[in-house]
């Protein structure tokens, strides 16, 4: 089975090698290809540019196709890079894993119609974040522990008082959390890293704060797979009366979600790799199998196939169910960020600057 998988991947690696070889012969591209610190930000910016165009002219296409194709792989990368691979305090790994399963179970129960699960989920997420802070607090500086705990408790209080708004805000905010995690914990502090964070955050804000999204919406694809931009606004920007502002929020979410996927699927795995070389598809496959085991890998492949079949038969329904069930990873990102910040060192062992 493994040999068959690697045989199937082989053509991809050949194509990848050919592209890298040709690109490295072009003087302008050579430094980008050879230096990881330039390659990753450049690819993120290139991806962000494409995502921006799609978010402006076909936001609902991006909102449906993105989760259906990249949703499960990005969740797997998220769990691998934040839980399975880093050196963590004792009990942190099982707590984060079982906490995530608990959050997933809460969503399954909510989808099954069990009432009151929104607050139960937020309470469990609060326990997960505070638990991460507590586990990382040994030998940590007092101001980091108290500052992070204060912020977490304040957010938890707001979340429990306003559960629905909090979940929507988390949905929007966690897209940026991934970018900030990449910049703070994985990438070296450099001008190119700051440029990527600044450009992406600025574009996200521009989409919300300007009539650009509304203008492009009128001239672009207003509906894809049965999802209209205004219907997306009903769920992503509830209570917003102004259609241009609501569509700006939708476009911003679609754009930042696409960047979020690129961060987890490309930028962070690349940055977590030693040296300047990038992993071949076969090497990535072996690493994935090593992290998840045969059973875990089979589960992931099954989930990807289920998403593909579900997406082909009922794209909107499958996308909505996926977005609901995948909510756990937003909390996981916050919990892991709190843990690394309190500990004062990231998953790669680098210092986390305050």
């Amino acid at each position: 089975m493994t040999a068959l998988s690697e045989t199937l991947i082989l053509p991809l690696d050949r194509a990848r090698a050919a592209i890298f070889t040709r690109a490295s012969r072009i003087p302008v591209l050579r430094p980008l290809v050879l230096k990881k610190e330039r390659r990753v930000p450049a690819l993120l910016l290139g991806h962000a540019f494409v995502a921006l165009l799609l978010a402006l002219f076909a936001p609902t296409f991006l909102l449906v196709v993105g989760p259906l194709t990249l949703g499960v792989p990005h969740l797997v990368s998220d769990v691998r890079q934040l839980v399975l691979r880093p050196q963590l305090p004792r009990l942190a790994r099982p707590m984060l894993l079982y906490g995530s399963l608990g959050l997933l179970a809460a969503r399954v129960l909510e989808e099954a119609g069990v009432p009151g699960m929104a607050r139960a989920e937020l309470g469990l997420a609060g326990v997960l974040v505070l638990g991460a802070i507590a586990l990382a607090s040994a030998d940590a500086r007092a101001w980091r522990v108290l500052g992070t705990a204060t912020a977490a408790l304040a957010l938890l209080t707001c979340a429990l008082v306003w559960p629905q708004n909090s979940r929507i805000l988390l949905g929007h905010g966690h897209n940026l959390v991934a970018l900030w995690l990449w910049a703070a914990l994985y990438a070296r502090a450099s001008r190119s890293t700051a440029l990527v964070v600044g450009v992406v955050t600025g574009l996200g804000a521009l989409l919300v704060g300007s009539p650009l999204a509304w203008f492009c919406f009128q001239h672009g694809t207003q509906s894809a797979f049965g999802l209209h931009g205004l219907a997306a606004a009903d769920t992503l920007a509830p209570g917003i009366d102004s259609a241009p502002l609501a569509l700006g929020i939708v476009a911003s979410f679609a754009f930042l979600q696409a960047v979020h996927y690129a961060v987890w699927l490309h930028a962070i795995p690349q940055q977590a790799t030693r040296g300047n070389a990038s992993l071949s598809f076969r090497m990535s496959f072996r690493a994935l199998r090593g992290d998840l085991g045969q059973l875990g890998l089979a589960g992931v492949v099954s989930a990807v196939l289920v998403m593909a079949v579900g997406g082909a038969l009922a794209p909107l329904w499958t996308k909505s169910l996926y977005l609901s069930l995948s909510a756990f990873h937003g909390y996981l990102e916050v919990a892991a960020a709190a843990l690394f910040f309190v500990r004062g060192s990231g998953p790669l062992g680098a210092r986390v600057e305050a």
Partner: protein, 120 residues
């Protein structure tokens, strides 16, 4: 760990969910056919209903725009007034806000005691 335990306790003190903003009557594709509690009927919000595919219209700078949507529609027989947001719910939420502050105080006190024991 004390903070975690107190927050866990706080979770169970939470009152039933109350509306935090004027909720729209939108629902999701996955909810079609399921019961929902954010329908609007006779000008009143948060009524029980069922999620259904519908046609919505929204005002835009270039006029009204119609689109396919999912809406929580009030059940025909749903006449019981459940009162919307309850005062007790708000009171429970307000009481809940004190729990994290108490937890923070205990954490601070614990760290101070730990620091003091190192000095001794």
């Amino acid at each position: 760990m004390l903070v975690v335990a107190i927050s866990l306790a706080g979770m169970f003190l939470v009152a039933p969910a109350s509306a935090d903003v004027a909720p729209p009557d939108a629902c999701q594709a996955t909810d079609v056919g399921k019961a929902c509690d954010n329908a609007t009927k006779d000008g009143k919000m948060d009524r029980p209903g069922t999620c259904q595919a519908d046609k919505c219209t929204r005002a835009t700078p270039s006029g009204g725009m119609s689109y396919d949507c999912y809406v929580c529609k009030a059940a025909a027989s749903a006449t019981k007034d459940d009162g919307g947001c309850s005062t007790s719910g708000r009171a429970g939420s307000a009481a809940l806000a004190l729990v994290p502050l108490l937890a923070l105080g205990l954490l601070w006190n614990r760290r101070r005691r730990a620091s003091a024991s190192w000095l001794e």
